[in-house]
C-alpha cells in the first residue's frame, strides 16, 4: 500500500512510505573463480546455485523458488530475487559454496535489500575522506 503525503506547499518532493514489507529480497552477488578461463552462462550459474542448495539442504529443503534476474557473463555478477522465507537458506548456501567443478570458488554477496532499486548503487563503494 503506497501512501503519498505532500508536505507543505512549496515542497518540490513527495514523500512515499512503503507500508507493507516486500515479499521479496534481492541480492547482488558476484562469483570469484580461481581459474579465469572458465566460461559460465546464466543457466550454468543457476544450476550451480541449485546444486549448492541441494548440497546443504537436500531435495526438500532446496525446493523453494528463486530467480536470477540478471547475470553478466564478463564480470560474473548476478542479481537474484528470492522470497523472504527463502533468504536465509539461499544466503547460507551461497556462503558455504566453496568449489565449482572441483575448482575453488567463492560467492561474494555485495548487497541484500528488499528493494530492487537499492541495488543500483552501493554506499560502501563511495570514497570517504
Amino acid at each position: 500500500m503506497w501512501h503519498a503525503d505532500n508536505m507543505s506547499e512549496p515542497a518540490s518532493y513527495e514523500r512515499r512510505v512503503f507500508k507493507n514489507t516486500s515479499v521479496y529480497h534481492y541480492m547482488k552477488i558476484y562469483l570469484i573463480l580461481d581459474s579465469e578461463d572458465k566460461m559460465l552462462n546464466a543457466a550454468h550459474f543457476k544450476q550451480m546455485i541449485i546444486a549448492a542448495l541441494r548440497d546443504l539442504y537436500g531435495e526438500i529443503g532446496a525446493a523453494f523458488p528463486f530467480d536470477v534476474l540478471k547475470f553478466e557473463e564478463d564480470t560474473l555478477t548476478a542479481v537474484l530475487r528470492v522470497y523472504n522465507s527463502g533468504l536465509v537458506k539461499l544466503w547460507s548456501a551461497l556462503t558455504l559454496l566453496g568449489s565449482y567443478h572441483s575448482e575453488p570458488c567463492a560467492v561474494r554477496v555485495a548487497q541484500v535489500s528488499p528493494f530492487l532499486l537499492a541495488l543500483s548503487g552501493n554506499s560502501r563503494e563511495l570514497e570517504l575522506d
Binding site: V88, T95, L96, L97, C105, V112
Partner: protein, 269 residues
C-alpha cells in the same frame, strides 16, 4: 556500529599469501584480523616461538572497505592440548595478543573453562565432538569471559566436515544458549574467507539468534581481544583519547563562520 573482526587467519610462512588473505579480509570489511599460530605438542619438535612482527608484513596496511582506516593485524596463539602438561603460561605466551586452547578431552575442556588463563576455547569442527558439553564448565567459562570459537573454513571445504561443524555448533549452543560464541574463518586462502554479513547469516544455521550471530563476528570478538589485553595488566584496561585542541586562530574562524552547533566541544573544557 560495531566493527567486524576475524580472529583466525591461519599462519603460513608464505608472506605473499598471508598478505593476500589480509587484503581480502580488509576488502570484505573486517577491521581487525588475528594471525593464528597453532602449536600441537603431540607432533615432534613443536615449541612456542616468538610471534612474527606485524609491521614487517606490509609497508602500508590495506584500507578497510567503507572505513578509510587501515586494517589492524594481531598475533594469536592456539595450543592444542591433549595432556595437562601442554599448556603453561610462559613468557613466550605473553607475547601474543590472544591465546586460545583446543582441548582434546573432557577433563581438559573442564580445566580450560575453569582455570586456564586463555581468551578463546576452540571447538572441534573437523571431527565428531568427542565429549558432551556439560553445563558447569561452560557456565564457568562464560562467567570468566572466555569465548568459544567455531571456525567455518572446514564447512566450506568439505560436506562431511560441514555436518560435523553444524552438529558440534548445535550441541554447544544447547549448553551455552548462544552466549560467548565467536565465529571465525581459519582461512588458508583468500577464497576461503567470507564477508562478515555472510557469517552473521551463517550463524543462524549454527543455532544462534540473529543478535547473537552478529555479536559472534563483532562485539564478542572485541571482548575477547580486550580479555587478551588484560593478561598484560593487573586488572583491566582503560582507553583514553586526547582530543585535539583547536588553535586560537582556528577558534576565531570557527566563531565567525561555523554555526554554533557544529563547533568542537573542547573549548568548554
Amino acid at each position: 556500529m560495531a566493527v567486524f573482526i576475524d580472529l583466525n587467519i591461519s599462519y603460513t610462512a608464505d608472506k605473499k599469501r598471508l598478505q593476500n588473505i589480509i587484503e581480502t579480509a580488509a576488502h570484505l570489511g573486517y577491521s581487525t584480523v588475528a594471525i593464528n599460530h597453532v602449536v600441537d605438542f603431540q607432533q615432534k619438535k613443536q615449541e612456542i616461538g616468538k610471534p612474527q612482527c606485524i609491521s614487517d608484513l606490509f609497508e602500508q596496511f590495506p584500507i578497510v572497505q567503507g572505513k578509510s582506516r587501515p586494517i589492524k593485524v594481531l598475533n594469536r596463539l592456539t595450543v592444542v592440548v591433549s595432556e595437562a602438561s601442554h599448556f603453561r603460561t610462559t613468557n613466550e605466551v605473553k607475547l601474543y595478543d590472544i591465546v586460545a586452547v583446543f582441548p582434546k578431552t573432557e577433563k581438559l575442556f573442564h580445566a580450560a573453562c575453569m582455570t586456564y588463563d586463555v581468551d578463546i576455547i576452540c571447538i572441534a569442527v573437523t571431527e565428531k565432538q568427542p565429549f558432551f558439553f556439560k553445563r558447569p564448565p561452560v557456565n564457568g567459562a562464560i562467567e570468566r569471559g572466555v569465548f568459544f570459537e567455531i571456525s567455518y573454513v572446514a564447512a566450506i571445504k568439505d560436506s562431511t566436515m560441514r555436518r560435523y561443524t553444524i552438529s558440534n555448533a548445535h550441541s554447544l549452543m544447547e549448553t551455552s544458549k548462544g552466549k560467548n560464541v565467536i565465529v571465525s574463518s581459519g582461512a588458508e586462502k583468500p577464497l576461503e574467507l567470507r564477508g562478515p554479513y555472510d557469517i552473521a547469516n551463517l550463524g543462524l544455521l549454527f543455532g544462534l539468534s540473529e543478535g547473537d550471530a552478529k555479536a559472534a563476528v563483532s562485539t564478542n570478538c572485541r571482548a575477547a581481544l580486550l580479555h587478551g589485553e588484560t593478561r598484560k595488566t593487573a586488572l583491566g584496561i582503560i582507553h583514553t583519547v586526547k582530543k585535539p585542541q583547536p588553535t586560537a586562530k582556528r577558534q576565531e574562524e570557527e566563531e565567525e563562520e561555523g554555526p554554533a552547533v557544529k563547533r568542537a566541544k573542547t573549548e568548554a573544557m
